[in-house]
């Protein structure tokens, strides 16, 4: 792994970003819906509306608007939100940490349980516990994240109300965050009551996001492991005195992770998209939730900024997946 490779990958991402920015810009201005009409009440006069229109530059042609937008974007200015009247960059920077912490925890849950399921399923190959694992994966994979969210709320929030189902943490705790990475920051600052509350509130949304991802990852990994178990180096390892479980996790696993990561990697990017509905359902104050408000209010600059953020996250996750595969397989490193 070398820096030129990394720089290359990042440069290749630029056309993708440019495409995402251009397409959303045009789409947003072609579809019906008027941000000014949304923000002004029914009593607004024609003149008021025209003035606001001019204020936000919406009276110009689409091409002209685009040129203005791009020239601002290059200086790092994402414009001003129409509905919230704040700088879009600052708004997103405030909410992004919330989503990042949620997504990372969801990924850890998904990967952790997928590993356990795939390893156990392989260990019990051909016996009834394997069928149990397969059945569990089959059911879990068929239910999308927002349905998990609704079911979990009904079961653990309403029927047996033991879990919080709204917000990011207990509102009675006051925590003056500098970065908005509550989880990381509270741990570093030793404010463990905050950590507890944040984790507690995170359980249901993170699990909802994690379950479908876990199921698909476990299924892919298990089939890759099964293929790996028939390879000759595994047979040889069995003659060398390694125990059954040890052969699976110390010989076959790393090899199986290479195709499994390549195959299920795209699912990890879907997780970012999944935050939109799940954050909404749990009133979780991340960028997914913000995106829905932005769309309802036809807040063009904010939508535009959020799409750009989502695109960058997609690209970063893909890059991490590629780096991970290269780290796993030495044959990909020395080409």
């Amino acid at each position: 792994m070398s820096y030129p490779y990394l720089i290359n990958r990042l440069l290749l991402a630029l056309p993708t970003l440019a495409g995402a920015v251009t397409i959303t810009f045009i789409l947003l201005r072609v579809v019906p819906g008027d941000p000014i009409a949304m923000m002004t009440g029914p009593g607004a006069t024609e003149a008021d509306i025209a003035q606001l229109r001019a204020h936000y530059g919406l009276d110009q042609s689409i091409a002209h608007q685009f040129v203005i937008y791009l020239s601002q974007l290059i200086t790092g200015d994402l414009g001003t939100s129409i509905s919230l009247r704040q700088n879009v960059g600052e708004l997103i920077a405030g909410r992004l940490p919330v989503t990042i912490e949620l997504v990372v925890i969801a990924m850890l849950i998904a990967v952790g349980f997928a590993l356990i399921l795939a390893l156990k399923g392989t260990f019990w190959r051909g016996r009834w516990p394997e069928r149990l694992v397969d059945g569990f994966i089959g059911v879990t994979v068929a239910i999308p994240d927002f349905l998990w969210a609704l079911s979990l709320i009904l079961i653990l929030g309403v029927a047996i109300p033991i879990m919080p189902i709204f917000g990011r943490m207990d509102l009675t705790i006051s925590f003056d965050s500098w970065t908005n990475f509550y989880l990381t920051e509270s741990l570093l600052r030793g404010r463990f009551e905050v950590t507890r509350s944040v984790l507690y509130h995170m359980v249901l949304p993170a699990v909802s996001l994690a379950l479908p991802l876990m199921a698909i990852t476990a299924r892919v990994l298990k089939s890759c492991l099964n293929a790996e178990m028939n390879r000759e180096y595994v047979t040889l390892a069995r003659t060398q005195g390694f125990g059954r479980l040890k052969v699976i996790y110390s010989q076959a696993l790393r090899n199986a992770l290479v195709p499994a990561t390549a195959l299920s990697g795209v699912q990890f990017t879907f997780l970012i998209g999944g935050t939109v509905l799940v954050e909404r359902i749990f009133g979780y104050p991340g960028i997914g939730n913000m995106a829905i408000d932005a769309v309802i209010n036809r807040d063009l600059p904010l939508i535009q900024g959020l799409v750009l953020t989502f695109a960058i996250l997609f690209i970063l996750v893909n890059l991490l997946i590629d780096l991970f595969i290269t780290f796993l397989d030495p044959r990909l490193r020395h080409v």
């Binding site: 190959r125 051909g126 390879r231 000759e232 180096y233 047979t235 040889l236 390892a237 069995r238 003659t239 060398q240 005195g241 390694f242 110390s250 010989q251 790393r254 090899n255 290479v258 796993l328 397989d329 030495p330 044959r331 020395h334």
Partner: protein
């Protein structure tokens, strides 16, 4: 001399849905300690399956329907038993056919050898490293330190096979199953690898079951030989006897089938079709009689 390995009337079948397909049909083997025993037979004869029974690594679908495998020399010397007490068999190593796919592609050679050595020795990493180096030197690898740092794909085929031989001998096995260990190598490397196996075997008195298609190799390397077809041993005996006066027509036709470089004009003579058919018919007949 005590036998190292005795296979007694071994029958093995693989389950295919509801039916059991016979693979091995009454195999008998008796290998004295320190013997190199050749196992010859065409593809599908069941040589690898026999090796897997001895190594105790049968696929889940395979069932032993009768017979057994025994290690008499091992029973009388319980000191050999230390690592594999729970299996009640001596350590048996495998030298596999394909040196590329038999090494773990994502681990350095040093790591792979270290893991095996660690099972038997409670040494520090430094000592394990030295041991691994020593084992590589024994298989005539001149730069063991460097090889230990490398991944399998960075080594040549001959080098990989040497590493596998070093691994096989590193556990001080009393029996080695060598399943066509030179088939994937070119001729000159083949010769060196064969000599290496023979030298290590002489030095340690290891018993080897040597699976091969190459009767030339059998002639040079083995003490005795068994010829297999359709899971049955057709002929068994000292190499010199079998080669000079083969008693089974299949052995004769195999000996005739060896292409001779000094007679390029001679036409290739595969084993005759009617002989093949007859052998398969005999195997079917055997199955029918066992069932009644």
């Amino acid at each position: 001399m005590t036998s190292a390995l005795v296979v007694h009337d071994l029958h093995l079948a693989v389950r295919n849905g509801q039916v059991l397909l016979p693979i091995l049909r009454g195999i008998n083997l008796n290998l004295p300690q320190g013997e190199i025993h050749g196992l010859v037979g065409e593809s599908g004869a069941g040589k690898t399956m026999l090796g897997r029974v001895i190594l105790d690594i049968l696929p889940p679908s395979a069932v032993i329907t009768s017979g057994n495998v025994d290690y008499p020399a091992h029973r009388s010397s319980p000191s050999l038993n230390r690592k594999s007490a729970h299996r009640r068999r001596p350590h048996i190593s495998l030298i596999p056919q394909d040196p590329l796919t038999s090494l773990n592609p994502v681990k350095r050679i040093g790591k792979q050898m270290g893991e095996i050595l660690r099972l038997a020795h409670k040494d520090s990493s430094q000592q394990i490293h030295e041991r691994a180096k020593q084992h590589l030197r024994e298989v005539k690898i001149r730069n063991p330190g460097q090889v230990l740092q490398q991944y399998p794909h960075q080594l040549s085929g001959g080098m990989r096979q040497r590493v596998l031989i070093a691994m096989a001998f590193s556990t001080e096995p009393s029996i080695i199953i060598a399943d066509e260990p030179t088939t994937a190598l070119d001729v000159s490397v083949q010769q060196r690898v064969l000599r290496l196996i023979r030298d290590l075997q002489k030095e340690r008195g290891t018993t080897i079951l040597f699976v091969t298609h190459d009767l030339g190799v059998v002639a040079k390397l083995c003490d005795r030989v068994s010829l297999m077809h359709s899971g049955m041993i057709l002929e068994q005996g000292k190499v010199s006897d079998v080669f000079q006066s083969p008693s089974h027509p299949y052995t004769r036709s195999l000996l005739e089938a060896i292409p001779r470089y000094d007679k390029p004009r001679e036409k290739l003579s595969p084993v005759a079709n009617d002989l093949q058919t007859q052998l398969i018919r005999e195997a079917d007949e055997y199955d029918r009689q066992r069932r009644v």
